[in-house]
């Protein structure tokens, strides 16, 4: 066990994890997931929100087993390697709000940092603006860190606190299995299922779940984080996590080339729009929110799996944020930004700046 424990913390460990994610993400698309969306934590949590009916955007409703697998894989890994640490109480309300804002920003761009990398690996040039926005948002976050921004300490708590999000995910999995999609029907007695659009594109449920579990496991071990990659590079000049992100990008690109999924260009990219200012702006907001909350959306799922109740609150904030984003026309579509997308980006940015500015230890 100790060999495995140490291996993942090395440079080659994190590179290996990035390679595995990159290959599997591209293959998930091949196996049925939407274009350049083999994995997208934000989009998939949004689809879950839709599957539960928290929003009624008919094209993005599906309880995604990948997200369930991420949490449960990390949960199993944490127990297996004796790293399950039930903890909570570091400004949960702030983390909820940051989660919601992060989701709203990500849905203006149409993707989380994971998908920004996968979009680029599929040839979508618009992703460059999103990634630039992500780096800018994280950079603003590092300015706050240098000035003493800190959400305070967590408290050690009951094991059952750390079990709550994993158990919610078990519940979602059971719902997905007991109430599968019915032919030509957008709703069974519990869940919503898209009949067209990205929500209707998915790999076989057990394949999605297995890949999710594997990624959850290796990411819990390696601490893989797409936001941390840029943060550590900017704040400390440290490229450890960044090497994992580059590996993901390279592996997804090569896999896309091999399976014929690389289509370079800007127009008509899958589930993407070309309004570059807002591709950039949306991800500035998301990147800043992820930085202030201490992890990218994937990392928040893995942390929640190893018992971090505050990360779990962030995840729930993202799911609620997705509901708001689609119900209130903040989210973009391939046609461009939503009716209130611009004001959402501005307000989200102001809220994040206020959080960063007022929550500093002087």
């Amino acid at each position: 066990m100790s060999v495995w424990k140490n291996l993942f913390a090395t440079r080659w460990g994190i590179i290996g994890v990035g390679l595995v994610i990159g290959v599997l993400a591209a293959l998930l698309q091949k196996w049925g997931n939407p274009g350049n969306m083999g994995i997208c934590v934000a989009c998939f949590e949004r689809d879950i929100a839709g599957g539960l009916g928290l929003h009624r955007a008919a094209v993005v409703q599906y309880v995604r087993p990948e997200i369930i697998g991420f949490v449960l894989g990390a949960f199993l890994s944490a127990y297996l390697f004796k790293e399950f640490r039930p903890r909570a109480g570091s400004a949960p309300i702030v983390r909820f709000v940051l989660g919601a804002i992060a989701m709203i920003g990500a849905l203006v761009f149409l993707g989380c940092p994971w998908r920004a990398l996968l979009r680029l690996a599929g040839g979508d040039g618009n992703a460059l603006f999103g990634l630039l926005g992500l780096v800018t948002g994280v950079w603003i976050g590092t300015l706050f860190f240098k000035q003493g921004y800190n959400l305070g300490r967590t408290q050690v708590t009951y094991s059952s606190v750390g079990w709550i999000l994993p158990l919610l995910m078990v519940g979602l999995l059971l719902l997905r299995l007991i109430f599968p999609p019915l032919p030509e029907s957008a709703q069974n007695s519990i869940l919503f299922y898209s009949l067209k659009g990205p929500g209707a594109m998915y790999a076989p449920v057990m394949v999605s779940l297995a890949v999710g579990l594997l990624i959850g496991l290796i990411c819990q071990r390696s601490r893989f984080c797409t936001m941390g990659a840029f943060r550590d590079l900017i704040l400390f000049g440290q490229a450890h996590l960044f090497s994992g992100v580059l590996a993901l990008l390279a592996a997804a690109w090569v896999t896309n080339l091999i399976v014929g999924q690389f289509h370079p260009g800007f127009a008509n990219q899958p589930v993407a729009h070309t309004m570059e200012i807002w591709n950039f702006g949306g991800m500035v907001v998301a990147g800043l929110a992820f930085a202030l909350a201490g992890g990218c959306p994937g990392r928040q799922l893995f942390l929640a799996g190893e018992g971090d109740g505050d990360a779990a609150v962030f995840v729930l904030g993202m799911i609620v944020g997705a509901g708001v984003a689609h119900n209130s026309k903040l989210a973009s579509s391939p046609q461009g930004i939503g009716q209130y997308g611009i004001i959402a980006v501005i307000l989200g940015l102001l809220a994040c700046l206020a959080i960063g500015y007022t929550m500093r230890i002087k």
Binding site: K5, A9, E83, R85, R87, S90, F145, N150, L151, R153, T154, Q155, V156, R223, C225, G228, R231, D232, L235, F236, Q238, H240, G294, G295, D308, D310
Partner: protein, 72 residues
């Protein structure tokens, strides 16, 4: 005696940030860092060794680690 930093309960990137601040301030000597997750332990050791410091002692107490970092 060196400086002691208590990073227990703090999330990323605070443990590394506090350690690097102490390293910058002291330049050499001994720093004791208290951490309560394996992630923080790995991150602090990685950051300190990249600055030419060495992990000279690591004590485990329950779920916590006490890391001793030194530079002559």
């Amino acid at each position: 005696m060196g400086t002691t930093i208590d990073t227990r309960g703090l999330s990323c990137p605070q443990p590394v940030l506090l350690t690097l601040q102490a390293i910058k301030k002291l330049n050499k000597g001994q720093i004791m860092v208290l951490v309560d997750t394996d992630t923080s332990k790995e991150n602090v050791i990685r950051a300190a060794t990249s600055q030419g410091w060495q992990l000279t002692e690591m004590q485990k107490e329950g779920i916590e680690y006490q890391l001793t970092l030194t530079r002559d």
